[in-house]
C-alpha cells in the first residue's frame, strides 16, 4: 500500500487496485508509529471504512490505531446526514466506553500510608469482573429513566451532583435515546450491572498528578502537582454489547434492500434516515446514557470509599474534572454540514470557545483523558482548533493493544507482575494473576508517543501527566 505524507504527522493512503473508496483514508502518525501500524491489517480496514455510503472528507485514523472488527480501533468516520449511513461497528461493542476523572482535595504526600486502605476500599466497594452483577438494582421504570436520561435521573436518589452532570460530555445524555428500542435481551444483560467496572482493559486507577505542561489549563481543570486523582475506565457493559450485536445482525439482513455492498460484514450499516438507522441511533443513545450512568454510579461509590477512609469532607470536596466517551456516534455540525461522527476508540476534543463546552472550560478547551497501560502514565489533554480543521474535533483514546492476551501471559506471570508493580509503588487490587498478566504494560503501545503525535498535529495539547499509585482491575 502506498502511503503519501500530507503533513508533518499526517499521511494519506493510496491502495493499489481499489476503486471502491469514496473518500481518502488518512492516518495521524510519526514514522515509527506508522511502521508499527503497517504490521497489522488496520490500514486495510481504514480503507474499507472509506467505502461507506455518505462518508465525507476522509476516513481518519488516530496514532493509536490498531486492528478491530470492521472498523479499526482509533478510527473516525463522518457521514453526511440525513441519508449517510450509521454503522454499529463504527461505534463498537462497548458503546460509550469512556473515561471519567475525579480530583481529590489532597496531595499524594498528604495521602501517605492511607493509600493502601483507599485502594483496598475502592476495590471492596466497586463490583468488578465480566458478567457479574453487584451493581445498582433498579425497577423497570427507573431502568428506563437511566436509558432515557443518563446520570441526571440518578441525582434525585442522592447519587452524584448537578456539577458532575455539567462536567460530562453532552451532559451525560444523548437526546435520541429511546428505551423502547433496547431489546429485552440487552436489558437482561445490563440488569444489575449499573455501577460495575467489567473486565479486560477496564480499570480504576488512583493517581498523582506528575508533570504539568500547561499551568493555565491545569488550573482551569482544577489540577495541581502531586494532587491525587481517580481515573475510571469503563462502558455500557453487557447492555451495550447486546445493542451492537442486535443491530449488526439487523442491518446485515437489510444491506441488499438498501443497495449497500461492503468489503467486510462487520461494517454493516444503514442510512441514518432508514428505520434500521433511526432505531439503532435511538438504542445506541440509550446505551450511551447507560454508560454515563454506569461511570456516574461508580464515581459515587468511590466517593463513599473516600469518605470511609479519608472522611466525609474529603469525599464532598472530590470533584469530577470531566467524563469523555471514546466509542460513540454523534450528530454534529462541521464545515457547514450536519454529519454523524463515528468515533471508535477515539475521543471528542473540542477547542476553546466551543459552545458545547461547560463554561468553566470555554477558555481552556475540552479536557481529554488518555489512559496509559497499567503501571504507566496517563495524560490529560485539552482540545485545540486543529481538531476541528483536521479530525472532526477528535483525538486518540489510549495506548492500543500490541500483544494478544496469551502472548502477554507467556511473557510474565501475574504474581511476578504484581510484585513489580508493588515495587514501583503501585498498589494492585481486584485482579486474578491471569487477568493481571494479560494486561501487562508491555502488551500495549507507549502512550507518550501517541500523545506527542496528536499534539504535533495540533489536535490537542498536553496539560498534565497522571502517574499511577494504585490500580483496581476487573
Amino acid at each position: 500500500m502506498n502511503v503519501r505524507r500530507i503533513g508533518e504527522v499526517e499521511w494519506e493512503l493510496a491502495p493499489a487496485g481499489r476503486d471502491d473508496m469514496r473518500v481518502p483514508a488518512r492516518v495521524f502518525a510519526d514514522e515509527e508509529l506508522l511502521e508499527a501500524v503497517r504490521s497489522d491489517d488496520s490500514l486495510e480496514q481504514l480503507c474499507n471504512v472509506a467505502t461507506l455510503p455518505g462518508i465525507v472528507t476522509a476516513a481518519l485514523a488516530m496514532p493509536d490505531i490498531h486492528s478491530g472488527y470492521g472498523f479499526p480501533v482509533g478510527a473516525v468516520a463522518a457521514t453526511e446526514l440525513p441519508d449517510g449511513v450509521v454503522s454499529p461497528g463504527g461505534v463498537g461493542y462497548d458503546i460509550n466506553c469512556g473515561v471519567r476523572l475525579l480530583a481529590l482535595p489532597l496531595t499524594a504526600r498528604e495521602l501517605g500510608k492511607r493509600k493502601e486502605a483507599l485502594v483496598h476500599e475502592i476495590a471492596r466497594r466497586v463490583p468488578t469482573g465480566t458478567g457479574r452483577g453487584g451493581g445498582l438494582e433498579l425497577d423497570d421504570a427507573a431502568f428506563d429513566a437511566v436509558l432515557a436520561e443518563g446520570p441526571r435521573g440518578l441525582i434525585g436518589r442522592g447519587i452524584g451532583t448537578p456539577e458532575d452532570i455539567e462536567r460530562t460530555e453532552s451532559q451525560g445524555r444523548l437526546d435520541d435515546a429511546d428505551p423502547a428500542r433496547v431489546s429485552a435481551r440487552a436489558r437482561t444483560r445490563g440488569a444489575g450491572q449499573l455501577g460495575s467496572l467489567g473486565s479486560g482493559n477496564h480499570f480504576l486507577e488512583l493517581q498523582r498528578v506528575g508533570r504539568i505542561l500547561d499551568a493555565e489549563a491545569a488550573a482551569a481543570f482544577g489540577l495541581a502537582e502531586d494532587q491525587v486523582t481517580v481515573l475510571i475506565h469503563s462502558g455500557s457493559r453487557g447492555l451495550g454489547h447486546q445493542v451492537c450485536t442486535d443491530f449488526v445482525k439487523r442491518m446485515d439482513a437489510a444491506l441488499a434492500r438498501h443497495g449497500i455492498t461492503l468489503p467486510d460484514r462487520q461494517l454493516s450499516c444503514a442510512p441514518a434516515s432508514s428505520a434500521e438507522g433511526r432505531d439503532y441511533l435511538r438504542a445506541m443513545s440509550a446505551a450511551a446514557n447507560f454508560a454515563w450512568a454506569n461511570r456516574h454510579v461508580m464515581a459515587h461509590t468511590i466517593r463513599e470509599a473516600i469518605a470511609g477512609v479519608l472522611g466525609a469532607e474529603t469525599a464532598d470536596a472530590t470533584r469530577q474534572v470531566y467524563d469523555v466517551a471514546h466509542n460513540v456516534a454523534k450528530r454534529e455540525h462541521h464545515s457547514g454540514r450536519d454529519v454523524l461522527v463515528h468515533r471508535k476508540g477515539a475521543t471528542r476534543a473540542f477547542p476553546p470557545g466551543h459552545p458545547e463546552l461547560p463554561e468553566a472550560y470555554r477558555e481552556s478547551g475540552q479536557p481529554v483523558f488518555i489512559p496509559g497501560s497499567m503501571g504507566t502514565a496517563s495524560w490529560v489533554l485539552a482540545g485545540r482548533p486543529g481538531s476541528m480543521e483536521h479530525s472532526f474535533g477528535t483525538v486518540c483514546h489510549g495506548a492500543g493493544r500490541r500483544l494478544s492476551r496469551t502472548r502477554a501471559r507467556k511473557q510474565i506471570g501475574g504474581a511476578e507482575l504484581r510484585r513489580q508493580l508493588e515495587d514501583a509503588g503501585i498498589t494492585v487490587r481486584g485482579a486474578s494473576n491471569k487477568g493481571l498478566a494479560e494486561e501487562a504494560p508491555f502488551a500495549y503501545k507507549a502512550v507518550e508517543r501517541v500523545v506527542e503525535v496528536v499534539e504535533r498535529a495540533g489536535l490537542a495539547a498536553r496539560v498534565a501527566e497522571l502517574r499511577p499509585i494504585g490500580v483496581v482491575k476487573g
Binding site: 472488527y69 444483560r189 449488526v248 445482525k249 500483544l403 492476551r405
Partner: protein, 133 residues
C-alpha cells in the same frame, strides 16, 4: 470434522472444517463447549435448550446460533456440549443443544461479523467466526 481456535490481538477466531453443513454447525457448538467449560468444579444438572434464530445466509445463522450460546452462558450458566438436532432453512435455523449447568467463564462478549464466512470447500464446508473477548 475439525475445529481450531486462533488468537489474535484482542480477539479469538474459530475456524471449522467439516464434511457437511450440519457437522460444521455441530463442531462450532462443540468448540464453544470447550471454550465455556468450567475451569473448576464438576458439571451441574444436564440441560437442553431449543433454539431458533434467523439470518440472511449460513454464516449469519452460525453467528446467531453462537450468540444464543453466549447469552445462555451469561444469563443461565449453560455450558453447551453437543448439537442434538438441527434444521436449517432458508434464512432460519432451529436447533436443540444439550449441555449442563455450570459457571462458564464470561470471556466471550460478542460474536462479530468480522471475517464471518461459511462456504463450500473441497471435501465439505469451512466456516470462520471472530469473537470479541
Amino acid at each position: 470434522m475439525a475445529y481450531r481456535w486462533g488468537e489474535h490481538v484482542g480477539e479469538l477466531e474459530l475456524a471449522v472444517e467439516a464434511e457437511t453443513e450440519e457437522a460444521a454447525f455441530g463442531d462450532a457448538v462443540r468448540a464453544f463447549g470447550e471454550l465455556l467449560a468450567d475451569e473448576d468444579g464438576a458439571p451441574g444438572e444436564p440441560r437442553h435448550y431449543a433454539l431458533a434464530v434467523t439470518g440472511s445466509d449460513r454464516a449469519a445463522l452460525l453467528a446467531a446460533l453462537l450468540d444464543e450460546l453466549i447469552f445462555l452462558a451469561e444469563t443461565e450458566g449453560f455450558v453447551p456440549q453437543a448439537l442434538d438436532e438441527l434444521r436449517v432453512g432458508d434464512g432460519s435455523l432451529e436447533a436443540t443443544v444439550s449441555g449442563h449447568e455450570g459457571e462458564p467463564p464470561h470471556l466471550v462478549k460478542a460474536v462479530t461479523h468480522h471475517r464471518l464466512r461459511f462456504d463450500p470447500a473441497p471435501g465439505g464446508f469451512t466456516a470462520t467466526v471472530v469473537l470479541d473477548v
